[in-house]
Every structure is written in C-alpha cells, then in structure tokens.
Symmetry: C2
C-alpha cells in the first residue's frame, strides 16, 4: 500500500515537473517577452519549459541554472549549445547560465535586480497576464528620483509612480502607497519585475482603483560607515523622517493617515508591518505579501508579546486599519506558508479583521506579488 | 629611412597603448563606479587600465573584449581568471567577456544598452567628471513614459527629464530639448550612459543653463509590419506628429520655435539635422554631436544640392537658428573627423554661423557626448 502511494505520488510529480527523459517536448517555443531586442533565445513553450541557447564553441559544459536546478545543454557541430528546463510555474523567474564553471547572465535577456545581482530573468506567460499587460489605457509615469539621506550619509534613489492625469490636474492631490521589495532586491523591483505602473494604469483606467501615487524605495538602509547590508536597518527612520516628508513636499499628495498606505513583499512585508504598527498615526492601510513579522518562525504567536504587544488590543488595531491585507502563493516553499499561517491564527484568535488573498499555483515569486498588488490596490483610499 | 619611420611609429603606438609586455602595471586599481553593489571587479587603475576577474574553473580560454581588442586572462589555482587591458581613454566604454568562445556580460557590472545589446560597461574616471557628478544640488526627475504610436502601430517609450522645481511651480512653463541617441543604442542611453539628468541638474543649479525639459526617445521607428530596424525610418514623422504634440499636452511646455531645441549624437545628429532643417518653424536650436547628415562621406559638400539645398540660403539658415552647434572628440576614428570637417567647410564657405566644440582626447564615446551636452545646454533658450 505504502509502495503504491509512493508510486502514484512519484508519477504525479513526474507529470507535474515533466522530466525530459519521460516526456516529449512540445515544439511550440516562442521567444520570451523579456528578451533583448532581436534576440530569439531564451524561449518558452506551452508546457512552460524554458529553452536557452548560446554559442560557446570551446566550452566543455554549459548549463541552464533555473529554479535551483542545473540543466545540461548539448552542443551542435557549430559550437552552439541548446537545452531546456523542466516545466516552470507561471510568472517571472531569475536564472543564469554556467559556462565551464562561470556563472554569467544570459546575453539573450534584459536584466533585473534580484537574488543579489543584476542578471537574467524569464517570463513564463501567465494565463491571467492581462491585468499587467501594456494596454491602450491612459498611462502614468514612473520617475526616478535621487535624494541625499542625512541619516545614512549617502545618496539613495526611489521610484515614484504618478497616475495618468497627474500632470493635467494641477490642483488635485493624491493618496500615496509606499511599496517595498524583498531581500536581495532593490528599488527597481516593483517597477520592472513587479509591473506596478501597468497594474495601476489598468486598475485606474477600469475604475477599480482610485488614482494614487506609489513610492518604491530601497529597503536597505544602515547607519553611516556600516559596510554590511546586514547591519542594523534604519530603513524605518529613513522612510518616516526623510522619504515621506520629501514626497509630501515634492508631489501633490494627501498627507492624512487615511490617505497613506504601506505594503511590501517578503522582507518588505516584515519591515512595513513594523513600520505600520510603530506609526499608527501615519498609515490606515497595510499590505503584507508573502511575509509577516514573525518570519522565519512558524510557532504559534502570543499577541501579548509579539512585536511588543502591538496586536494585543484588537479594538485598537481594528480601528487603526481600514484594510489589513495578507497575500500568499499556494506554491510557496517552507517557511512562508507556516509563518503566515501562525500570524493569521494569532489575528483570528484576537479577532482582528484582515483580508487574505491566495495566489493559485505561484511560489515566492513575482507573479504572486503582482497578483497581490492587483487585489490590494482596489481596496485603498475608499 | 622608411624603416626608421616605421620603428618610431611603432614605438609611439606601443607607448600610447601601453603594451603590458613593456610596462609595469601600477597596482592602484579601484572598483569601477558602475559595478553592481558589493562587486569588487572590474577595476580601473591610475594608468586607465581595466582589470577584470571571473571564476571559471573549467574554462580553457577567458578574455576581456574591450575597445576592439581581446586580452587573455590568466587562471589561478582556484580557477579564478584575472587580467587587464591596455590603458583606455577617459570615459565610458562598452565591453564583454569571452569564456571558451561564449561572449557574455561581465557579472560584475550593471548593464547598458549599446552596441546593439544590453551588456557591460566601464567608467574610466575622467579628470573633469565633476560636471556629471551626483552632487548636493536640487535634482530633477527622470521619468519613463509608455506611449502607443499609431504611425508604427507599436508601443514605444521615451524618457523625460523635468528639472528641480517643476513640481512646485505649477504655473511655470518650460522650454524643451529633444535629445537623440546613436546607432545600436536606444532611449535609455542619454539617461544612463549620458548622465543627462546630472549634467542638467548641475548646470541649472549653477545658473549656467535655464531650467528645461529634455525628452529622449527611440530613434528607431519603422512602418507597421517592417521587421528590420534598418527599414526606411519614419522617426521624423513619429517625433513631429506624435511625440512633440504628446509632450506639449502632458507637460507644461513652452511650444514656440524659440523654446524648442533638437540635438543628437552620431546617427542621432544626422537624424536631428534632417528634422531641424525640414521643420524650420519648430526648432531654433540644433546640436550635432559627432555626426552630420553627410555621413559617412568625407567629400566636399555642395550647398546647392546637399540636403536638397537646405543650406543654400545662408541668410535664411542664420535667421532660423539662434544656435547651430557641432561637437567632436579629438580622438574619434575615421570617418567622423572627415565627415564633420567637410560639413564645416561647407558652412564656412556659405557663411553660416555655428559653434564648434572639440572634446580633448575622447573618441566616438559617451564622454565626448556628455561634454558636448554640457557645452550645448548653457547656450539654449537665452
């Protein structure tokens, strides 16, 4: 009996990951939508396999390194190496090539900052990609802003999304969502991999979300002189004392607590939960995508001690937040499901209201976060 | 005698390119300023040599491919390859690595679009780098804007620099400079490699240039259905009929001819000269950096026939342009010096006024164009 269960679970696994040795590959590969102009590779097929190709006539071993698995490529008589991965989940994935032991970006793709480096990425077309597609609707601007931080004694950068019409409606003021990336990512993530501008353009055009600004800063901030990005973070101080006042001064914002939301993914969810709970006078909306502040623990939480008892008084927390939002992909790896579950159990036990969204069949990756933003943004400022 | 000349010319060449076999390398290498966060390589020393390093334990041959020369790296016992180039000219250079025949980006640098691909770049610190340094002055915004082009039936993108204060001075309107990249580059070039925002921030803060918008579009535009980027260009139509009206509608611009300038580098210089001459009612300022519309010919020009006689009537041309600017690096390769010289000789013969700027010791590269912009922008809209 046990053997039979093992057999069927292995069969099901082999079907789902589509081991190349057992399955024929469907030859309907198309160039990835994040390829460099004119580049034919990498490609993705209808099984969601990724095929890469690179010329390396003198190489001995060339591999595709994707999703923690290294796939050997094979060389043709001209020295061109080709090969493909097992089927991938829908959405965006970071990857790299290995050429005789050198880990390098694929020269076929544009590049993204994630996993601690600028490197290659691939889009496995999602069945619901329409919500972040570039469509014939009014488009906002995504603006890059340099600023000097006195707290870190360093130049920093943020990106600011201003919705369509911001330039025309000279007397209109707008609410603001502060939106943070995850660990080993930076302020470029939500604008590039995250498609924030397109998601907001589409939601606003459809009348589903109110026009708002979105500010995306870098979640790594340390005291002057600290060399390690893992030194004690002063991001909360930078955001509260430097970024928010600067945005309120330079843009036509509404600056009341009910006009300001804060959200983040993974590390950013953890950071922004701290910030929202420490500054109840500043935020009436919170979004935590694939992360909560009990990370990485999956143990039950005691509301009297967790975050210094910030969730102890359910009535106060319910009054503080117009929306408290949590999101998670159903295919996320340990410890994320357990972490978020423990947090939700505490919330349920306390009787604190929250909205919970699950992204079907996505892992700890950007399609989860695009979808979470698409669910969260319509709830804001209403 | 011939032999002696050959000997001295070879000696002079060896001194100027600093063959490693003849020269000791000065060990004062520092990480390049366009490295990825935390990456120690590539590095540049005081001789302007570029040193790269990559781990590739199984590789047989690893090379640095920079400035048209391939430099062999050497491997240590851990499989890490290191090596350096001959001295380079000051400024920005595109390059790549070759690992057993695979041409790949260096995983140490951030990436730039040029030479027809997103790839590695290096900054060899320029002695005059202060004019494009990130300094404690008010900073403008660099904004990314998606737009649908009916003429090309495609989504296109431009970047718009708005100066510091644009957001505050709600009733102030601004003149506009349209600024174009070169061949095998795109709309990202002037904002990244070109440092346009920092050059303008610094000039405006110093009172040397008037606050202006700068619009950077993609110079490749073809009719719907054309697959090749080398098909007949309709960039002039896109710029005149789509981009300029859109910018004038979405931003607080001044839209008279004396409030509009157009400039470009190399291919962009050629394109924008055509556009300026074809639309005298729209532009009172022209800048051509490292290029003129007689490219690639170095033959004498006949003003009665060149560009359909657009330079025939000197009085009209002198009345049309408040500033007609030409820039060139003194180290540019053939045919650029001859092309620009032939154009200037025609201008001189016709008695047409122009400003001529030479960038010392720079080739057909971005330091030439940063300097040209730094000279050109202060002449505008005064």
């Amino acid at each position: 009996m046990k053997k039979q269960i093992l057999f069927w679970s292995m069969m099901s696994w082999m079907v789902s990951v589509g081991l190349p040795s057992f399955a024929q590959t469907v030859e309907d590969f198309k160039p990835s939508e994040v390829n460099q102009p004119g580049k034919l590779y990498p490609q993705v097929n209808s099984e969601r396999k990724v095929r890469v190709q690179i010329s390396a006539p003198e190489a001995k071993v060339v591999q595709l390194d994707l999703g923690g698995v290294k796939y050997d490529l094979t060389k043709d008589e001209k020295g061109v190496w080709t090969g493909e991965s097992a089927p991938q989940q829908e959405g965006f994935h970071y990857y790299q090539l290995n050429v005789d032991g050198a880990a390098v970006p694929d020269p076929g793709t544009i590049y993204f900052y994630g996993a601690g480096r600028w490197g290659s990425g691939i889009e496995v077309p999602a069945h619901d990609a329409d919500f972040y597609a570039l469509k014939d609707v009014p488009h906002g601007l995504l603006s890059e802003m340099n600023y000097y931080s006195n707290l870190t004694k360093a130049w920093r950068r943020c990106f600011v999304y201003t919705p369509a019409g911001y330039g025309d409606n000279k007397d209109k003021r707008y609410p603001v969502l502060y939106l943070q990336h995850g660990s080993f990512e930076d302020e470029t993530g939500w604008g590039r991999q995250g498609k924030t501008n397109l998601i907001l353009d589409n939601l606003i055009a459809a009348g589903k979300a109110v026009p708002m600004l979105v500010v995306m800063d870098n979640g790594y901030a340390t005291k002057p002189g600290e060399k390690s990005p893992f030194a004690a973070s002063i991001f909360e101080e930078v955001l509260m004392n430097e970024v928010i006042p600067m945005i309120d001064a330079k843009f036509r914002t509404l600056s009341g607590r009910e006009d300001r939301a804060i959200a983040g993914l993974s590390m950013g969810a953890n950071q922004t939960m701290h910030i929202a709970m420490n500054n109840p006078g500043h935020f009436a909306y919170y979004g935590g995508f694939s992360g909560t502040s009990n990370y990485p623990s999956t143990e039950p939480l005691d509301a009297t001690t967790f975050l210094n008892g910030k969730f102890k008084d359910a009535k106060a927390v319910n009054a503080q937040f117009k929306v408290f939002f949590l999101g998670l992909g159903t295919a996320e790896p340990h410890p994320f499901p357990g972490v978020v579950k423990a947090f939700r159990q505490m919330m349920d036990k306390q009787g604190i209201k929250y909205v919970y969204y699950e992204s079907p069949d996505t892992a700890h990756e950007w399609l989860t976060w695009r979808r979470a933003l698409n669910e969260f943004a319509p709830l804001l400022f209403k």
